[in-house]
Symmetry: C2
Subunit: 162 residues, 2 copies
DNA sequence: TATTGTTATACTCTATAACTATA
DNA sequence: TATAGTTATAGAGTATAACAATA
């Protein structure tokens, strides 16, 4: 059986196993991410960072500060401002001033934002299920565990924050 | 032990296992990719696509056509032209006209390109090893196999090309 | 002084589509 | 007609850095 060309096919026999593993990981991720981005665009006219920001907000009804969002999404502060601006203009999120610190504000989903996001999230989860669903339960949990170890090793350790 | 916030932390208990798996995969990939991009930039003033293109060329001394490169790198044709232009300007690759089809040309590494790339590849592989090296042999092969299954399911099937 | 958030800027990466020159 | 490659364009995504307001 012929293989379809991709990043991994650049490897040569003497390449180290870890390199092959990395290229395979990257290829998988790019394939799935590309598919999700494309569907978010065509079906909901939105983007992955916008979707992710709304997903973060959904689980915290009271809202989150910009700095919290930037930590969770692992991008710098200025980017969060831009995404929030867009979503606010469309009435999906709102900035709420807090009395305790007048520099910061809480960002939270509006009613419209919650409704809109839940609709998107439902389909999004179906897409994911259809992409991962072909794996056996055993394979999925092996993958989950292995990635957990990898993440723990790779990420910069911060001192305790949830 | 507290967890560091990331994309995965947006999940709530009722979320499906596949969604958690996907977010964990995405987080791992982004962390590693970000690290590689950053090191390629600061240590070699280059980028991941440029590095990948050179990696593709190294294993085919005779050179590759633009269309082959675009298949392997899974991006559209115009992007390959741009990256090739940059690398050619720096004398790292060259376009070679072929007699059999005057529309196409072969791209291949120059001597300087080979030398430069080999130096980068050596360090690159050390970075990768240090990032994956903490995983047990068992975990690494489980990860490799699981990702292989996932890739086979996800990617669009093309009819036979190597 | 340090932190929160904003603004401005610049660059990489990418897709799309129109174009040319061959085949 | 179809293919190989180019060009132009637009937009996503990101980092950096200077800045204002507040702590």
């Amino acid at each position: 059986m012929q293989r379809t060309p991709d990043l991994e096919s650049r490897t040569v026999p003497e390449d180290h196993q870890d390199l092959r593993l990395w290229l395979r990981l990257l290829t998988c991720c790019n394939l799935i991410e590309g598919e999700i981005r494309s569907r978010l665009r065509t079906e909901f006219e939105t983007t992955l960072p916008r979707f992710d920001l709304m997903a973060q907000l959904l689980r915290v009804p009271g809202g989150m500060k910009m700095s919290e969002l930037s930590q969770h999404m692992m991008v710098t502060n200025g980017n969060i401002t831009g995404i929030t601006d867009q979503l606010e203009k469309e009435g999906l999120v709102e900035r709420v001033k807090v009395a305790s610190d007048r520099r910061s504000s809480l960002i939270r989903l509006t009613t419209k934002g919650k409704r809109t996001f839940k609709k998107m999230a439902k389909l999004h989860e179906e897409w994911i299920r259809s992409m991962f669903g072909g794996l056996s339960e055993q394979t999925r949990s092996a993958l989950f565990e292995a990635l957990g170890e990898l993440k723990a090793m790779t990420r910069p350790k911060l001192s305790g924050r949830s």
